[in-house]
């Protein structure tokens, strides 16, 4: 799966939890969930659970630690997909 395909699947998930903003409109690999998108940290868990469902993967806590940006999330998703 390409980065673009992954972002397209991530976008609706992220939109569920992020307040409306320019940063959300311009969502890209550099976007930071908390600093740029203003997502509440308690909702990061929802994003991770939604990602697990959407991609059919399990994200262990060590991988979850890194998932503060779109690019870090893409890396984790790719790694977990390759292990399937």
């Amino acid at each position: 799966m390409s980065n673009e395909e992954i972002i397209n699947k991530l976008k609706p998930i992220i939109t569920t939890y992020a307040p409306v903003s320019d940063a959300l409109d311009n969502l890209n690999e550099e976007s930071d969930f908390i600093k740029d998108l203003n997502i509440n940290s308690a909702n990061l868990v929802d994003i991770i659970l939604d990602v697990e469902e959407e991609f059919g993967i399990t994200i262990d806590n060590t991988s979850m630690e890194k998932m503060l940006t779109v690019s870090a999330s893409i890396e984790v998703i790719k790694e977990k997909l390759s292990e399937k």
Binding site: N43, L49, M64, K66, M67
Partner: protein, 155 residues
Amino acid sequence: MIGNDLVDLDLAKMQSNWRRKGYLDKIFTPAEQELINTSNGADETVWILWSMKEAVYKIHNRITGVRNFAPTSLACCLTQSNDKITGLVCIGDQIYFTETTTSASYVHTIAAPLFNQLSNIVIEIYAEPNHPIDYKSLAPGCVSHHGRYLALVYG
């Protein structure tokens, strides 16, 4: 260095469904989940433990310079007395001390690396629309903003 975290309970109720399958496992250690599951007020216990982790993370992150999302690495213990909810949070080989106050509408935790520091912390909690216009000029030691509330602490 001090930390603080406020949870607006009305907003938390709307924003977060902690009963969702898998949710607690990603945030809380088995011992913390046991506290939640055996508590009389599970909702309140979830947000007390969460605010303890957040308040401590704000200190630990500044000390170590490490930014991550690893809520289960912050292990909470509660030592509840009559009117105060005090606790310990361990991360790696560091221990932090916390004190939590609750009301019908929010949960607020202060945290410090030394127990004696807690009693010196001054807490100001503002409800909308009474937030100070330029709170940064007040130079608080830590800021927490959630829902209707702004919490500033000085230590």
